[in-house]
């Protein structure tokens, strides 16, 4: 393993801002893995740290396949994580809305450009990503539908679901989208949580990445075969929104099977505890996403259901 300083930025008042990379093996650029890009992506960073540890063990045993190089970058935004912010601390911009970056541009454009330069040219690109809505969800692989995506490859992670997203204008500045446009097969691995570390789900995600690398001959590692990943289109998920605001009392969790009309949650009046609205399943299916905030606003997205 080679630990490398990939990017340094002086700060006026803090320590230097640094992006560190961990390189394993040598040869063709096979896979780059990027962890926390936002300060609250603790789970994503933890998974990368576990990958670094596991790959180190594999390397010591000679199980990184000859001719393959692996790059792991656990954090792109330690400055935000260290002070409990989600975005770039100075101006609240999101590094994951700055790709492909611009080396002469604004600070976060420069960070994105420096990162992108380091991770270009890899055959596979994996971003440990948080979901764009606050909540818990079934771990899955997400791909942008750009015309360059290869869904069968994504199924190689062996996670339960592969979610295909049709990009919206703001997606065109994300890492995943730009990686694909620059001819890296890019995947976002969403491991179920943001802001906390869930070790069980982290272990599953590490296994999924090892499985993928093993499948493509990048490492020699025996892994559980995983799931036959079902492909979902984001637009096929059924959205359940809050018709009323209040305290959310949730009665299900991700991956629960539910029947049509089953009560999923209750929205309670925060003054007298009365039930303002019973949230019922609109169809038979599986709970894919649940809102995890105690308070809900009217029209908030509470659940996304995979219809049976």
């Amino acid at each position: 393993m080679k630990r490398e300083l990939l990017f340094v930025l002086p700060s006026p008042f803090r320590d230097e801002f640094r992006i560190q990379g961990f390189r394993f093996g040598s040869g063709q650029k096979s896979i780059a893995i990027v962890g926390a890009m936002r300060g609250d992506e603790l789970q994503q960073q933890f998974i990368c740290s576990q990958l670094v540890s596991t790959l180190q063990d594999l390397e010591e045993k000679g199980d990184i396949a000859a001719g393959h190089e692996i790059l792991v970058i656990p954090s792109v935004n330690p400055f935000a994580m260290n002070i409990g912010k989600r975005f770039w601390a100075m101006d609240n911009t999101d590094i994951n809305r700055m790709f492909p970056g611009y080396s002469l541009g604004e600070t976060t454009q420069r960070i994105a450009a420096a990162l992108f330069e380091q991770i270009q040219g890899y055959r596979f690109g994996v971003q440990m990503s948080s979901y764009y809505l606050p909540g818990d969800y079934i771990p899955h692989v997400r791909m942008m539908h750009t015309g360059y995506e290869d869904i069968e490859l994504a199924q190689g992670f062996g996670l339960q679901y592969t979610l295909l997203r049709t990009p919206r204008p703001f997606d065109t500045t994300t890492l995943n989208y730009n990686w694909q446009i620059w001819e890296t097969q890019a995947f976002s691995v969403c491991s179920g949580h943001t802001g906390v570390i869930d070790t069980e789900s982290a272990v599953d995600t590490v296994s999924a990445v090892l499985r993928f690398m093993s499948l493509h001959g990048i490492i020699h590692c025996r892994t559980h075969p995983g799931y036959f990943s079902e492909v979902l289109r984001e637009e096929d998920l059924i959205t359940v929104k809050a018709r009323r605001a209040g305290i959310l009392y949730c009665m299900c969790k991700p991956d629960d099977s539910v029947r049509r009309d089953q009560i999923l949650a209750r929205v309670l009046d925060p003054y007298d505890g009365s039930v303002r609205w019973e949230v019922r399943a609109p169809a038979d299916g599986t709970v894919f996403f649940i809102h995890d905030k105690t308070l809900v606003l009217e029209n908030s997205m509470l659940f996304r259901i995979i219809p049976s």
């Binding site: 930025l9 100075m90 101006d91 600070t107 204008p169 703001f170 929104k241 809050a242 925060p270």
Partner: protein
Amino acid sequence: MIKTVISTELPVDEHLLIRKNSISGGSGKKRICLVTGTHGDELEGQYVCYRIAQILQSNLADLDGTVDIYPALNPLGIDSITRGIPNFDLDMNRIFPGDPMGSMAENTAHSIIEELRGADLVIDIHSSNIFLYEVPQVRINQLNADSLVPLASMLNLDFLWVHEAATVLEATLAYSLNSLDTPTLVVEMGVGMRITQSYGEQLVSGILNLMRHMGVWKGAVPELEERHTILSTTGTVDFINASASGVFIPLIEHSNHAEAGQVIGRIVDPLHGTVLQDVKLERPGFVFTIRAYPVVYEGSLLARVFREDNA
């Protein structure tokens, strides 16, 4: 007449309310909308809304049509000094045209579009952010330049920037409305969290001038210093970014012409008492943006300078 156009229930005994003041006069059918407060840290538009409402309500006989004034598209953001939408960490001006089936923020964006579409003109007033000071200017996507530049020219502002199309900007309010054939001008002026009264008066005068041209206003237009509006298509816009991280000290006022070689600001190191960078212009030009917030990192935008092609 004050109308609530969007009301969304919040958890504890409150509604998110987006309101407008709809002022009508005469028999004219044209409708002009003034919108602002999409970003909760931009307040320059508040003064303009106040002044236009005040002038129109005191001179209804001179109005021939409807002017709808929306001071706060993001009322929770304005009230909490939050640029985006509180609870969502979202830039509201990156989620248009919204989605009636989407989250609360996307749903609200959709309702705003439905509310504004069909107007004869929408003026969307922004005030940069807390980091940059902008001269009063109109920004127009080059896709709409032919139809919007003539309208924008009547606003009596200092600069008219026709910028390139970018996919990410397709999610703005202005892009969405212009795509729906609702002409929309984006005004940028001043700085976040402050009101620059002179800029506000300049824009008020420009709006009344434009209304008069559209046949919606028969009253007086306050006379201000006559100015030559610079059109960006006659030259080039240069971006000047910081080469060092430190504290920026501006050495010129914004809205200034600067010479080649002129030092427009310095980045200094307060700990060591040294100058890290003299920020010089390579070529002469009109500084229409200047850094307002002193702390900078490498890459922070310090200035935008317009340079005429033959300069």
